[in-house]
Each structure stands twice: as C-alpha cells, then as structure tokens.
C-alpha cells in the first residue's frame, strides 16, 4: 500500500531512452518486458531519486500541473510498480526470480539424416539414416513419461533433420501419438516442423493446419542471396520453391515464421529480406551462423558489417513495426521474454534425440551422444549431458558478463560457440560487441510497437494474425 511517506526507487541497471516523444524504460530484472511512458508519466518517473517521498513528488508535480491530486500520483506510481520499473521498500527478489524450476520442456526430434538440400553451412552430415517407427514412438512415449515424472507442464516437440517433411507420415503418426499420451497424463503438448520449405505443397500445408502443427521455414535471402547457400544437391537454388511453400502455408492459414541464418554471404540482403517479410506480414527470426566441422569456408559475418546491415534492417522495422512482437527474434540468442541465467535450455529443459535413439546435449553436437531413450530417466540423462564447465555455470560466473547490464537477456551467448572460439565457457560470447551495439536498437523497435499499438492505435491500424493472411507473394 502506497502512502504519502513511501519513497519510490529505481532498479539497478535500468536502461532508458527517448523514442518519438515517449520514454522507454527497461528493467533487466522485470518479467513485464519493456515499458513505454508518455511524456506526463515520464515527467513523474523523472522525479524518482530515492529520496523524495510521494508527498514531495506531489508538491513537485503541482508546480507543473496544479490540478493533480495525491490519488492521481498514487495511481501512476502503482502503474510503475506493477510494470516493475520502480519499487517501494524492497526490490523484486533475484533469488525468487531465478529459483523457478523450468516447466516447459523443449524436444528436438532429429527424425532423419536425409535431406533434399545441401545447404552450404549445414551442421548435419547427411546419410540415408532415419528414425525407425519403433524408436520414434518409443521416444515420444518415454519423453512424455519422464516429463510428467519431473513436473513439466508443457512439451514442445520440434521435428527436425535433415528434412523432416521427407518423413511426413511419420510426423503425423507421432503427433497423433503425442497428443493422445499427453492428454492421458494431462500435459500440454504442441508441435513444430522445422523445414527447408521445399516440400510444403498445398496438401502438406492443409494437413499441418488440420493437425495444428506450427512451422519454421528457413529462408536466407531474396533470389540469389538465398540461392548461394540454400541449394539442391545439383547446386541450383531453392528460393522459388520456398516462396511457393510459404504461399501454401499462408493459403492454408498455418501459423509459421521464417528462420533466417545470417552469414557473410547474405548479410547485405537482410534489409531487403526484412522488407519482403514485413510486407507479407510474416514473422521472422535472425540467427547468426555458427561454425561447425562440416563447413570449410569462413561464413561468419564480420562484426562491423553485421551491425551495419542489421541496423539497416532494424530501421525498416522501426519505421513500420508490425502488430506482433519481433523482439525475441531480432538478435540471435538474445531474448527478452524474461530474465534468465542460461542462454539455452541445454541440460535443464531441452532434450535432443538422434535418428538412432541416442540422446545428445544440443543439435550442434549430434556426433557426441551422452545417453539414449532406453535410459531409465531421460531428464536425468539430459541434466548429466550438460557439457558446460564448471557445472552450474550461470551468466553471473562469466567475465565480463557479471558486470554487464544486459547479462539476463544475453547470458553470454551460445556456450558451445564461446568454447569453440575462446577455449573456455567462463567468458563472454564472441558476438558480445555485436549484441551490445544492437540491444538498444531492438528495444527501440519494441518501444515503437508499443507506441503505435498501445498509445496511438486507431481502428484502421488493426491487423489480422500475421500468418493467417493469404497474401500473394
């Protein structure tokens, strides 16, 4: 309960910026995301100095607007508290925030090593091996069983490969089985197909819609920019096929997004690709290429160029932000969903099963199995498979992450990449300077979205659900 004598305070490491006459406030320890204040709220927020109480603030506010009352001030400061950008008495407890056990299990089901493409940066060594029906059904069974035993409330199964649509009947069979078993044990379950998009025919799209399966389609650029890295075994490009696949998804109203891998070969086209996707109301995510043993050429983008071209792409989004939030997909492994201590769920809430039923810690370490679906307790196998050393290393144990204001959204980046390039896990990501340069830009995009739809929206601004629009490409 706020009284006249209560003293409002700001959280440590709060980031602020002004955006088009509004004020952006981001508390890295908040679970509410970004806050945007109009100029009146920003004025009151600016009066917080850790010394003035509410009554002092009222007196200062009256100099600006004599009609303001104590109840008005209390209401606004209650909003600041519920938005988690200010607090009275004690700040939100970090320990409480980070002690929550994960309740959502991510499962990467690598159902085939076969692929109809030969993308230049792929981390999978293609063979004819695929998951047998027996292993596939057993995987679903044991995963749901283990998840239930360990108190997970939700499972997301991601079908991957290779190209998992080469095994579409198997996908449908497993979706059916997964739904049935999850229902029996009262766990929520959903399914995602990770595809190169080439096999997304009208029939496949229709079936995906019927079964409520979501889709992530890889597309790395327009025309030749996609076609330099996403190619058929013959070497010819895939853009036109993927474009058609996307069209089919939109026609069938399948929820999907586009996953973009940024390399030195396509970085210059990212702004144009952004424009293309925004125009078609398609959500998307930018991922940075991660080197792997199967790629001989250097494909990582030069940091300076990455920042330069991503800023150009961001400018395009900023000028016309879509209704849906892109914030968690704009900067590789940086996610603003809620503060977190680990970059990924590896070892905590993330299971990867290979086509032969062996388990690995991460899809990038397919050649290093650490257990199998025959193990008694898959969650225990997952936990023991955590390769990061020292054990239980969080971002607070990394240097110089421990003093960085962005540590709870970046967490030091992909641990595997850091180790490969720096020889240890206890340091920051090789992409640290890129993340630092771009995080403020991403926040500005989210602020612009909140301004557009939270403050300024008129009826005509309203958009439909992005991937439900059957727009022509």
């Amino acid at each position: 309960m706020i009284s006249k004598l209560s003293i409002p305070r700001l959280y440590e490491n709060t980031y602020t910026d002004s955006v088009e006459g509004f004020f952006l406030v981001y508390n890295p320890l908040s679970e509410k995301g970004l806050s945007v204040l109009n100029k009146e709220a920003a004025f009151l927020f600016g009066l917080i100095d850790g010394k003035k109480n509410i009554y002092d603030i009222l007196l200062s506010a009256k100099e600006k607007d004599s009609s303001i009352e104590l109840t008005d001030i209390i209401k606004v400061f209650n909003d600041f508290v519920s938005s988690e950008i200010a607090y009275f008495d004690t700040p939100k407890s970090k320990t409480k925030l980070f002690s929550k056990k994960p309740t959502h299990l991510g499962v990467w089901l690598h159902i085939t090593n076969q692929c109809n493409l030969r993308c230049t940066y792929c981390y999978v060594w293609k063979t004819q091996d695929k998951m047998s029906d027996e292993i596939a059904r057993k995987s679903i069974n044991t995963i749901i069983d283990s998840a239930k035993k360990h108190g997970f409330k939700k499972i997301t199964i991601k079908f991957s490969g290779g190209e998992c649509l080469l095994e579409f009947p198997k996908v449908l069979d497993l979706v059916c089985l997964g739904k049935k078993l999850a229902k029996q044990v009262k766990i929520e379950i959903d399914f995602v197909v990770l595809t190169n998009g080439v096999l997304l025919t009208e029939e496949v799209a229709k079936k995906l819609k019927e079964e409520n399966i979501r889709v992530a389609v890889s597309l790395d650029g327009l025309g030749k920019y996609n076609d330099t890295q996403r190619i058929f075994p013959s070497g010819s490009g895939t853009f036109k096929f993927v474009e058609k696949g996307i069209k089919n998804l939109q026609k069938a109203k399948v929820p999907f997004n586009v996953s973009i891998t940024i390399t030195s070969k396509n970085i210059e086209n990212i702004p144009d690709l952004t424009k293309f996707l925004l125009k078609r109301n398609i959500p998307f995510a930018f991922n940075f290429y991660r080197e792997n043993p199967f790629v001989k050429e250097v494909l990582e983008g030069d940091d300076k160029k990455l920042v330069e071209f991503l800023k150009k792409a961001y400018r395009i989004i900023y000028e016309s932000p879509p209704r849906y939030s892109l914030i968690n997909g704009l900067l590789d492994r940086v996610t603003f969903k809620r503060p977190h201590l680990y970059t990924c769920g590896m070892g905590n809430s993330y299971i990867v099963v290979r086509q032969d039923g062996k388990m690995v810690s991460c899809q990038m370490t397919l050649e290093k199995p650490n257990g199998s679906i025959d193990d008694k307790d898959l969650i225990k196998t997952m936990e023991e498979g955590n390769f990061v050393r020292p054990k239980n290393l969080t971002v607070e144990g990394k240097t110089p992450c421990d003093t960085c204001q962005w540590k709870y959204i970046c967490c030091g980046g992909c641990p595997l990449l850091t180790f490969e390039q720096k020889g240890k896990y206890t340091v920051n990501s090789p992409y640290c300077s890129v993340y630092k340069a771009l995080i403020p830009e991403v926040l500005r995009i989210e602020a612009k979205r909140l301004i557009k739809y939270g403050f300024n929206e008129t009826k005509t601004d309203k958009q439909e659900f992005p991937s439900l629009l059957p727009l022509s490409l």
């Binding site: 679970e31 806050s35 929820p255 995510a285």
Partner: protein, 40 residues
C-alpha cells in the same frame, strides 16, 4: 501538461489488453529454439 493523462504501456500489458493475441505476440513462439525453451 496534464499529469492526470500519465500512461504506461508494457509489452505484457499489450498482451493482457488482448490487443495482441498469444500467437501474434511473439514470432519466436513458433520457432522455439533452445534459447526460448529455457525461458518460456
């Protein structure tokens, strides 16, 4: 300046106001990569 007009909008309040549906809110709801799985 009419301070009574002070207003705060957060990413979360946009969701609660149903201005954005769950599916619309986050592009990466679809592609829940390893990073997302840890924090959802």
């Amino acid at each position: 300046m009419t301070l009574k007009n002070a207003k705060v909008v957060t990413s979360e309040s946009m969701k609660q106001d149903k201005k954005i549906t769950a599916n619309q809110d986050c592009a990466c709801e679809v592609y829940q990569d390893c990073a997302c799985a840890s924090v959802c």
